[in-house]
Amino acid sequence: MSAIVLLILGLGGMAAGYFLYSRFIATKIYRLDPDFKTPAHEYEDGVDFVPTNRFILWGHHFTSVAGAAPIVGPAIAVIWGWLPAFLWVVLGTIFFAGVHDFGAIWASVRNKAKSVGALTGDVVGKRARSIFMIVIFLVLLMVNAVFAVVIAGLMMNFSTAVVPVWGAILVALIIGQLIYRRILSLPVVSILGVIALYVLIFIGPAVPVQMPAEVGALSGNAVWILILFGYAAIASLLPVWVLLQPRDYINGLQLFIGLIVLYGSILFLNPTLVAPAINPDVPAGTPSMIPLLFVTIACGAISGFHGLVSSGTTSKQLNKETDARFVGYFGAVGEGMLALAAILAATAGFATFADWQAMYTAFGQGGVNAFVEGGAYMIHNGLGLNEVTAATLLTVMAALFAGTTMDTGLRLQRYIFQEWGEIYNQPWMKKNAPATLLAVGSCLLLAFGAGGADGTGGMIIWPLFGTTNQLLAGLTLLVITVMLVRLRRPMWYTLVPLCFLLVMTIAALLIQLRAFFEQGNYFLLFLDIVVLIAAILVAMECASALKRSREEMAEQQE
């Protein structure tokens, strides 16, 4: 099948979702009011609460939610064939992610721009809020561990990208200073920054840095993981304007350039999907597609992380309530487009079916490496760029996203430890350095505990990361659903995705539980049980909250 046909079907579906379904949700379910005074106006303070142009806000929202996860997940999931991944990404974006992200903004805006965590406490109950905190901590833990493993794998496989990836940090540091000290104006700095990044990408292939497979007692992979956590620990302690802010900005520009290059190369090349629509003989040890598909692709179809962004910063800056549809729903569509590009790169970017099969030798293999190699093949043949340079470009794109997420993730984890220090009266835990060490230590434990001392097996936790992420999304959907019940509006549009997610998550956890037990991986078995307990608690919380709200409504009617 031609990749362009699939591309048009996917984009067409998501466009229909935006123009038809989101309009229906906006007018009939959330009933957005253009005259509603949003928190950005009500509490305007020039700092957190600032009414912002909707295109700028969308840019922010999109670049905050899009990262490495919508690339890694779909690129792993195509092992079952392109059709299941494609359908879940497109339908998930239309009926799940869009409604969820859009709803999280709406719920937050209607409640003084509170975060989903606080809303869970207010709308559902105190107990649910505690579960929410635990789930957030688990998500952060897994995202940091998994992304360190992803970047380490990229550094080992694509040695040409080592110089550009680390050089980009230097570029960001310089940009940060230039802007903070107002030495150059921002448009000039943006252009210079992008040029500097691309110069690095072009010289990368000339100066490959290959970490030896064995460094003393450690594997090369493990060394990279340690270096990455060392970097992330330092980066997360720096003031945001020094590194995180300029890095994020450059990543945002890079995201748009990368998307244009990828879609452009598909249009020029029109490659054929070499992977089967549904893979009849998956490698041994691959778990069942249902329910694992729905947790392998979290970001790109629906992700709880977006709810945190929607209710954390976006809702405080929303100029008009009606903008929520564009910012939230279209933000989800943007992420769906990135996931779609990842699917196409990982299934159409190979010359033959045998090449593709050689990439996907086992579950968890392929993944981001398949995205880089497939994408490089398409860019090389479609746009004529040297294949090594194209691979370097895509590796840099994925590694920079993952690196920025690690920086932010460790920062948030540090805040959680510091909050615990506050709650349990441990003054030492409130300090920056010990809290960061605890955060890094717990992530390292997971990265190495999951897959052995060489750190290559860390990708086993990817589906587990998906399940926790979906639980977070489930909690946000629960908040929205309870709000809708109290407003006497139809609840099915959020309740059905919620139930679907819970069923798939719990099923996936049970299947993995058995797999971990059979493998004798007791570390992950324990983690799986923790997530499973959280999932069951969320499900029971849903049932009780909905029952209570409906009873309240019925009483009021009498």
């Binding site: 700092v47 600032v50 142009n53 700028i56 921002l186 448009p187 800056q317």
Partner: protein, 100 residues
């Protein structure tokens, strides 16, 4: 700037200039709005430390620069109420210096 007024306005040039300033505004918003809160909080933390230095002598903490900081006190008076509230003190910590 003076010369600009004498020259006849070229509408095309004006349009480009307006467009550029718009682009600059957009870029700056994109760059800053996500981190505005975090940066403002970091700056406030620094300012809080400065407040402590300025008012330290009045709270019994010896300050070698008291002679100079005394001069600053009236200037920072406006911020004093917010500061002591932020520091977890319901009322002014100073006996002879009531603010609320």
């Amino acid at each position: 700037m003076h010369d600009d007024h004498d020259k006849p306005h070229d509408p095309r040039l004006e349009r480009i200039r307006a467009w550029l300033s718009q682009a600059r505004f957009f870029a700056e918003e994109v760059y800053s709005s996500r981190y505005r809160g975090a940066i403002a909080r970091a700056r406030r933390d620094e300012d809080d430390l400065f407040m402590l230095l300025v008012f330290s002598e009045m709270m019994g903490v010896p300050n070698p620069a008291a002679y100079y900081t005394l001069e600053l006190q009236p200037l920072l008076l406006e911020r004093f109420h917010d500061w002591h509230k932020r520091m977890g003190m319901e009322r002014s910590p100073l006996d002879h210096f009531k603010c609320c």
